[in-house]
Symmetry: C2
């Protein structure tokens, strides 16, 4: 078993984690290593749930913060082993999110007497189908491990800034029907692809809303992500399916989002294939933490696991090292200064120190 040295510098620890492969579904080795390192820390009670590891302080403090990160990465793309160059750790998962894991593990090891109790959650299968998601499985099977937190920090890459809440999303098929015919006698049929032009033009003309919550602007969207029609090269197609992906502000419920899309296409069959609510920013409840982190909060437009905390009644925010647009790219990296800043700010806040002066939202 790989031994992780949590007393090492956060940069070295990030590299060690990158060099411990953990593609989704193959997290056993990294979970073993994390579990072993945490069990060596006497102030933490450690539980293994599948290939997830939960470690909790039990100091009887008046508040509890949950710090979470996923152990898995997308598949390798010729980007192993890790490499330190130009002030950046390069390599598979460096950005998404082994840098964040390293910060969390350093906090576990170096803040044995935090001012509030802490629950660390390291989980499997974030990068794959939702039903495999380790955080979701703990929430379903062992909600008590998560629900006693007052707030949660998800260490997804966010440019070492705070991204508050997250938008919900919806996927739907708009089904346009016609009638088949031989193309040599096309007038005997009704071309469903031709009729789908109206659906696509309506999407093109659609102006999504911008919803302001706690001063943050959540910019919605509705995009065709697939169009499928075609029977054979000489057949007028009798069906055209336009798949749309919608992003909606966390103030809308999934039911409202669904009704909105159905209302936009009342004359077609609309099949909702997936709809998941977002997470409100709850700046009223996470504001002190945001100020301590010295970052101007931004709205999170993509969906993240903070929505799972929201569903449990735990306000959560995204805060982690790395540029989120580099996630899943072969050239992903995490800047060393992000690692150090995230570690020092969170460490100070956990210890109950005064926050460092704000230096702006992001680097």
């Amino acid at each position: 078993m790989t031994r992780l040295d949590l007393t090492a510098d956060v940069v070295g620890l990030t590299r060690a984690l990158v060099d411990l492969p953990s593609e989704s579904g193959r997290e056993a080795d990294i979970a073993d290593a994390v579990e072993g390192a945490l069990r060596a820390l006497p102030h933490l009670a450690v539980e293994r749930v599948g290939d997830c590891v939960v470690a909790r302080t039990g100091l009887g403090r008046s508040g509890r913060v949950l710090i979470a990160g996923h152990l898995d990465t997308v598949p390798a793309a010729g980007n192993l082993p890790s490499r330190l160059a130009d002030g950046r750790v390069h390599g598979l998962g460096a950005c998404d999110m082994k840098g964040g894991l390293a910060v969390a593990l350093r906090l576990a090891a170096t803040v044995p007497e935090p001012a509030r109790d802490v629950t660390f959650v390291f989980y499997e299968c974030e990068e794959v189908d939702a039903e495999r998601n380790g955080l979701g499985r703990i929430a379903a099977a062992r909600p008590g491990l998560l629900q006693d937190a007052d707030l949660a920090i998800l260490m997804e890459p966010s440019d070492a800034g705070v991204e508050a809440g997250c938008q919900g999303f919806l996927t739907a098929d708009i089904v346009v029907r016609g009638a088949r015919a031989h193309t040599a006698r096309a007038w005997r049929g009704t071309n469903a692809a031709h009729k789908a032009g109206r659906v696509l033009q309506r999407l093109d003309a659609h102006v999504p809303e911008r919803v302001v919550i706690d001063g943050l602007e959540y910019r919605e969207g509705l995009s065709a992500v697939a169009v499928r029609a075609g029977v054979a090269g000489n057949v007028v197609p009798d069906e055209c399916v336009v798949t749309v992906n919608g992003r909606f502000a966390p103030s809308r419920s999934p039911a409202e989002a669904e009704a909105y899309v159905r209302g936009l296409f009342p004359e077609y069959e609309v099949r909702i294939t997936e709809v998941v609510g977002g997470a409100l920013p709850h700046l009223d409840r996470v504001g002190a933490l945001v100020r301590a982190l010295g970052a101007e909060p931004r709205p999170k437009l993509g969906w993240t696991d903070v929505a799972r905390f929201a569903a449990l009644g735990v306000p959560a925010l995204n805060y982690g090292p790395g540029d989120p647009s580099l996630a899943h790219t072969a050239g992903e990296y995490v800047p060393v200064d992000h690692l150090r800043r995230c570690e020092s700010r969170l460490s100070a806040w956990l210890r109950g120190s005064r926050p460092a002066p704000a230096t702006g939202a992001t680097v």
Copy 2:
């Protein structure tokens, strides 16, 4: 080797041909049987070209007619062996086009002294890719076997009526481009599927022309037969391809058809993937035959191998037993009265008899 009895009734011969499987690419057995039966007829000179059989009279008549039919069928669909019921021969290829083959073989056997010379062509691979088409291969390798005919009769199912000429066709991809983005930030990209709405609406609004030639109306068409867009469920697609299939009157050249489609979509990349000219009806040259067959000619809207004869300078028409809309269906059949009418009318015309009185266009 199966022995075909050409002295048998046309119905029994149709059934024997249906019961001799000949899916495209597997025509050796039926070609052997046809070749053997024709070689037994002393008035015919027979040549085998691949799995095609060409048989010619050499009576020194002033004119020559070519009678052609393909030997192959589409794959079986639980519709073998043949079955005679309700005045119809049922079974694989009965309609497309073993009924027509039976008529042609009966003519070869029963009219040893036609008023004009005759070339019979039985060919392979009509139902598959154009480059495998047996008639096309003879036209390329041995054009002399075909070119000395004054007119050609293609025995494709045409409801025992005359379908004159044929339309050309064209297949093109209309490529709409955009720029990828994450759907959570869709405004950073350009959705190619949304933009393709204009292409589809233009097709929907397009009114095809109707071109009258020799009194026959060729009704053109332009149909989207496929639409493809999609990168991933959370990605704004950067390309949407609309595949259109056009049918154009035989008075238009392939170059004119291509220019027409390009002109309709000047702002997009248009990739022409296939374009084939049609065949003019040439009623001035085939009119006497049409009158002899006692059928009001109709325009052929689909493309057939008559266009290959047109390309060789031989005017041609479609005339054969069977409803063309049953071709390629599991339930295909050919009416016995079609078989008898086609045989008797062609036989009379070949012998130089007076035509039977016209009884209307079709049954």
